[in-house]
Subunit: 205 residues, 3 copies
């Protein structure tokens, strides 16, 4: 976190950590885990993508070992999620929205770290996609759900398109915050549209 | 293993490696895996937690690549477990006891490594918990069981309490061996009491 | 890839990447994943073993982050696999053959990297086995299949025997290409013979 942009990048990371913690906590409560199980799943979902990113790049100790604030943020988010659990209607939609937001934020987080490590643009898009998707995969595998990534709607494809938009806007030399939040919005909106209109990629069989 | 205390720390690591190898071998035999499958599961269970710990911290090559004795210990343990398999009564209880022992030993192993790398105390407790729990999670996922960590009784919570006891006793400047074995005993006893009296954490739903 | 032999070693890596990409793509099409899902599984199967090897050793960023050609090779292989999918008869056998070839290639890839990092010979065999087996485990776990490694026929054992043959031939100072391709052939042939004659290791229960 010291090597690259602290302001916008950090805000994106915090928002992504928060979003995935909420989605993990909600998914765990749907499966009726106990209080601690909810916090573990929130933690695993939230740090999963960034942990894989840091390990693949070799930037260790991984981010949440270096900065205890992430764990604290996830703990507080998990407790708040449990408190407000019964007051939220349309849980499925809430879970879906926070999963999609986290996907967008973490795609950008992965991309910016790849660029900070001077990896080639195509590889950065791949790294952003892996960073975005992995937290949700961990959550679904631990809860014994079929990973969202393999269900019908476009998922990883949203990360790839968002990543390409990021690279394009960055090339146009726009303001950093605009570039990053636009890329997040692209990932988020593609997910919303894909699920709403049940868009899916063709199959071969 | 050269960077921090060799004596007590190494004894704890060897005992944890042995305990988890036994628990992995027994769980694999319950699932009727072949001879080699039993050895693989014993290996994965035994090195899983420490491998994740080394990867997260960035202390690579990981411990079992640097020191072949761990693989040898697991091999011998696995073979002995297969030889004595039919002579042991109450297999479920034996498996549970060795899993709980391994949990205690590896929580301490993770903690002492975190402290050796100058991580903050709260993060060290998290690292100890991850180190303690991960081997059992790998074992259960590979064998297609529901991870013990998500069943009703207190599991990761035992690691956290044991980790806090470790930090407290260490702060009191007691003898190293007393501090470490007390922490192991705390994790072990919490597991025993939790399962015996079916203690569990509350759920939110 | 710069630290050790570029010629034979690189050819082996490319062939292994190709073989596992084919096996991953075919397994994904059998499960009726969409176009993108097929490419993801091909990617995960293909880079899985080498990624774990690089992470365990600490040679990061991992190989496919440093060299975009691997991702390109997997992309093209995946697309070709989808195009020729319907024209191939005996899909199960084709999948099995490419899985066995990939197993052989990656066992050698893991071994040569372990030797390049001066690990002890026994540890190199273990690293080769892990590198060879992990891609297939990832593929099977993501597709919710029982990992091939735990089914009846000899699997990881083939890697270990191939690894020992590699070390033996290398000790005899034969030509590098002969040593490596012989080891690949040994792994491949043990798999073929084991499945054809349904050889399996004994069980303890």
């Amino acid at each position: 976190m010291a090597l690259y942009d602290l302001n916008v990048g950090e805000v994106i990371t915090v928002l992504g950590t928060f979003s995935f913690a909420v989605s993990g906590a909600f998914a765990a409560m749907q499966k009726r885990l106990d209080v601690f199980g909810v916090l573990i799943i929130a933690f695993a979902t939230s740090v999963g993508g960034g942990t894989l990113r840091d390990i693949l790049i070799g930037d260790t100790p991984v981010f949440w070992l270096k900065n205890a604030n992430y764990s604290l943020l996830i703990l507080i988010t998990g407790i708040l999620a449990m408190i407000f659990w019964k007051k939220i209607k349309m849980l499925k939609i809430t879970l879906f929205l926070f999963d999609s937001l986290g996907l967008g934020f973490f795609t950008v987080v992965g991309l910016q770290k790849g660029l900070a490590f001077d990896l080639s643009p195509g590889i950065c898009v791949a790294l952003g996609t892996v960073t975005g998707c992995f937290g949700g995969i961990v959550r679904d595998v631990l809860l014994n759900n079929i990973p969202l990534i393999f269900r019908k709607e476009i998922y990883a494809t949203a990360c790839i398109i968002g990543g390409l938009v990021y690279l394009l806007l960055r090339y146009l030399d726009l303001d950093e915050a605009i570039v990053k939040f636009t890329a997040v919005a692209v990932v988020f909106l593609i997910r919303i549209v894909a699920v709403k209109y049940q868009l899916s990629l063709p199959r071969i069989y």
